[in-house]
Amino acid sequence: MSGALNGAARAPAETADARALARVVEALLFLSTDPLTTAELAEATESSVQDVRDALATLAERYAPGVSGVRLRELAGGFTFASDPESEPAARRLFSRTRLQTLTPAQAETLAIVGYLQPVSRPEIARIRGVSADSATATLLDRDLIEEAGHSQFGAMLYRTTTRFLKLFGLQSLDDLPDLAQWDPAPEEEAQLRERLLAAGEARAASG
């Protein structure tokens, strides 16, 4: 309702110029497929980054949950509009094209390895996984979640994650990925594992 919009007009949007800037920023975000940074928006609108930030604050209220079916999201280092999940059942009925299906475990693992180690080569992914990563890599490339990133010194193709990956996984940047060390086992558990492996290895050496 228009009432919500009028009520949202705070200090930044009070001047006619500020309101005009918010409208242009809104149009640019609507047109762009990729998230736009405040710097890009400032350059395109010939405004200061601060004015762009104020415009984004105005838009955040206009596109707040419960007010609009579209949300203003900060993703992949920039800003973008996305649909509110409440509209998903209707979107599913309307669009035959489905959104990204869930990942298979092999794909998720390959994506995690690329996410953390990028740029990383296919042989290295295979080494960590213990199995070939060819089909998972091909699917991830196909879905534009990873992309080629030149060659390693050994000539193998290197891969990195894409902006689309950040967008679809709701991440602002790769720094949002949690520290890998958080999944390390407790020292006692690690010591136990080591002992068991050592015992198994010695048994094998003795029998062999």
């Binding site: 649909s83 999940p85 990942l103 390895i113 089909s135």
Partner: protein, 261 residues
């Protein structure tokens, strides 16, 4: 009757058995996450339901499950490095396996985290419409002569470069011979008592592990005594108080020396 008739309902998969096989081979179902015991139980249930044993189908099932088991155990042992691992000392192999297991575990957890992130974004869609025509027409092509042909030559040069002999270099564990560590410890011992910390000052993880192994070997042979005041504390190493302490047995010697060489 076909094995296809067996319907499975597992956490990672539900559907007919033959589809499961296809998916495993295409890596769309992770064999590591597939509880094979449940598959066998489902088959037994199926048999019970039929009340008769089709010998041919049973044979086929046993062969397939055996193949899956073998494949799965290979996966669990981190496949491609097996030959390498076999050539390592037990302690080296254990360290290498441990490092691989921990690595695999980290990324498996990270993968689960990514799956959660994706689930959290469920129902979020983005607009992917092309730009309006009026805006598309303003595309400015790069100016003539603005690209450097040298990048084309460089690209061909890179493509002409054959790969090096396959790069296990970054995988391979540095081999630390036990013999060398034995000699090192004996040398220190000649100068009197010393601590383990001193013996491995500045050494990498692998060297530390092999040095400890060498120390155990010397102890078995009765060449050293050691004491450790507390768990994880430093180990102090001395020549044995009584020279008459008997070694542990000839067979242990032979094997350790064989391994050390």
């Amino acid at each position: 009757m076909a094995l296809a008739a067996i319907e499975l309902d597992l956490d990672v998969f539900s559907g007919p058995f033959d589809l499961l096989l296809t998916l495993v081979l295409r890596e769309e179902v992770d064999l590591l996450e597939l509880p094979l015991a449940d598959v066998v139980l489902a088959y037994l249930d199926h048999l019970e339901g039929r009340g008769e044993l089709d010998l041919e189908a049973a044979t086929e099932f046993v062969v397939l499950v055996a193949a899956l088991l073998e494949l799965k155990s290979r996966l669990m042992l981190a496949g491609d490095g097996d030959e390498e691992l076999a050539e390592l000392e037990p302690i080296e192999a254990a360290e290498e396996l441990l490092a691989r297991m921990l690595d695999a575990r980290r990324y498996r957890s990270a993968a689960a985290h990514l799956a959660q992130l994706l689930a959290r974004e469920d129902g979020v869609r983005f607009r992917e419409a092309p730009l309006p025509l009026a805006l598309r027409r303003t595309v400015i092509p790069p100016a003539d002569g603005s690209a450097d042909a040298a990048q084309l030559g460089a690209a061909i040069g890179r493509l002409l470069t054959p790969p090096p002999e396959i790069s296990l270099e970054h995988v391979a564990v540095r081999i630390v011979p036990v013999a060398e560590r034995l000699a090192h410890l004996r040398e220190l011992l000649r100068r009197g008592s010393f601590s383990f910390e001193e013996a491995v000052a500045g050494a990498d993880r692998m060297t530390v592990a092999v040095t400890l192994f060498a120390l155990l070997e010397l102890y078995k042979r009765g060449e050293v005594d050691w004491t450790q005041a507390e768990s994880f504390g430093d180990i102090s190493i001395t020549a044995p108080a009584s020279a008459g302490r008997s070694p542990m047995g000839a067979s242990a010697h032979t094997r350790a020396e064989g391994a050390a060489g």
